[in-house]
Amino acid sequence: MSDPKVIFRGTGVTRRFGRGKNLVEAVKNVDFTLTEGQITTVVGESGSGKSTLARMVLRLLPVSEGTLEFNGTDVTTITGSARADYWKDVQAVFQDPFSAFNQFFTVRRLLSRSFRLLGERAAAEARMEEALNHVGLFGADVLDRFPHQLSGGQRQRVMIARALMMQPKLLIADEATSMLDASLRVNILNVLTDLRDTLGMTILFITHDIGQANYIADQVLVMEHGEMVEQGPADKVIFDPQHEYTRRLLSDVPRLNQSA
């Protein structure tokens, strides 16, 4: 293993909504780094600002204060074609595998939208099939289907395939497993670890479930009310939590082998 390299760095990242009396600070002065080839999880309860953080990293939402750096370049305020180029390297999978689909598009139509950023058509077609194979699907089976003709797990895998077509360096999975049932959840988590192991992809995995974080993460960030209260390697955060909030999250995990 070569030296771990920092692929993404956020410094003093802050996001405010509203103004005056209704001012809400969803993310407060957060510092974090993502290491190349690792899975980093952000854990926190609903409303802790983790999805807002993800949308800022994706540049779908402007940052109120602070800077975002990707591979050493400042991406805090990029727009237009620079941002489109950024999206070739940074992609996302979202929470809801139903509403993330345009219900009027077939899978083929959905995926072929990325062709514009990918350039040459034949190569892009090949990438589409390759990306689907990566998540255990075959083009012939799913490409001409509408989203309502696919199962929840298939839909989420198509969404991951869409992100993979760009061959991103960083993949953001925002609660990507929380709307799937338990058996499919492990399946998707395994797809993600597989991407890290075979493609060396960096993954930012966002979840409210510290159990999933434990299963998948190399590094854990804990957020509470918009603040980053604890961060560090997964083993350390989960087995030797320093912050009260992390301990509470851990104690809320249901245990099967323990009565009440």
Binding site: N102, F104, R113
Partner: protein, 310 residues
């Protein structure tokens, strides 16, 4: 089409609309009488003598039935043109304002609110008067240009709710252009709504044309239901009891407006399954109870319907 479920109400509305369309399109071909030709005297009574006399003559001795079918044609034409113009303008304003948000939204909605605040009938009358020697087409343009703000408001509200859906983020991440997202990711979700708005605009435009023409500001030299009403009022048909001069255009206007409004509300049921199920089941139950027997069973059925509602 597999998910579209047509209700009885839709079929009633559709047959009424088709009937008015047939009157407007085929009527003038069947009633082969020039609406401007004098075929009788002042308010001749309806008679079966000739096809043109079926509904008698008006104040100028012209055939009422010929004026009626040609007037329906004019009304439908004006409704389609004006409805299309105001729907397109309202759609563009509403889509852009609702999807883009921010300062563009503020500007576009500012313009829309000004448009809403000005009473459009006054603008239409002034414009219709200013355009001397106006034709049906210019009248339709004027009605269309003043009628869009409500559509813009409604479409904007819908577009705002779609802007925050995840599939828009997914489209942006895939590198889709702004126009492409607007046309393929936002518009299809509103299409059912736009169809209903168009039907409403059409019915509004037909009534607006009738109102303007009845005030004597209609298109000169053309035939329309409003103009028929204007002349019948001016020549005292109501006072003299010449019902055939004012009743047919009134009934025809009511029928057109009613059938379009019924179509709009039945489309609501077709597009919105949640609205459809509860209602149609209850209605079907009521119809079944009504046909089976008379009063006694209806009294028994009542509590069941109440329970269904809760």
């Amino acid at each position: 089409m597999r998910s579209i479920h047509l209700t009885p109400r839709f079929w009633v509305a559709a047959s009424l609309v088709i009937f008015t369309l047939l009157v407007g399109l085929l009527g003038p071909l069947i009633i082969h009488v020039d609406p401007h030709a004098t075929i009788g005297g002042l308010y001749d009574k309806p008679s079966g003598r000739s096809i043109g006399m079926w509904l008698g003559t008006d104040n100028a001795g012209q055939s009422v039935i010929s004026n009626l079918v040609n007037g329906v044609r004019t009304s439908l034409f004006i409704g389609l043109v004006a409805g299309a113009i105001s729907t397109v303008i309202g759609l563009v304003f509403g889509l852009v304002a609702g999807f883009q948000g921010g300062i563009l939204d503020d500007i576009l909605m500012g313009v829309t609110n000004i448009g809403l605040a000005i009473p459009s009938i006054v603008v239409v009358i002034l414009l219709a008067d200013a355009l001397n020697g106006s034709t049906s087409f210019t009248l339709a343009m004027v009605i269309g240009i003043t009628g869009w703000p409500w559509t813009a408001r409604a479409v904007r509200a819908q577009a705002t709710s779609i802007r925050n859906r995840e599939h828009i983020d997914v489209a942006r991440l895939s590198g889709a252009r702004w126009v492409s997202i607007l046309l393929w990711d936002v518009l299809p979700y509103l299409l059912s709504y736009v169809v209903m708005a168009f039907v409403l605009q059409m019915s509004g435009a037909i009534l607006a044309e009738a109102a303007i023409s009845m005030l004597g500001l209609g298109a000169s030299g053309s035939v329309s239901l409003g103009i028929m009403l204007y002349w019948s009022l001016a020549w005292g048909s109501v006072r003299t009891g010449a019902w055939w001069a004012f009743l047919p255009p009134t009934l025809m206007l009511t029928l057109i407006a009613f059938s379009l409004l019924l179509l709009q509300s039945s489309l609501d049921e077709v597009f919105n399954p949640r609205l459809r199920r509860g209602r149609s089941r209850r209605r079907l139950a009521a119809v079944a109870a009504g046909t089976q027997a008379a009063v006694p069973t209806a009294a028994i059925v009542e509590p069941v319907l109440e329970g269904d509602r809760s």
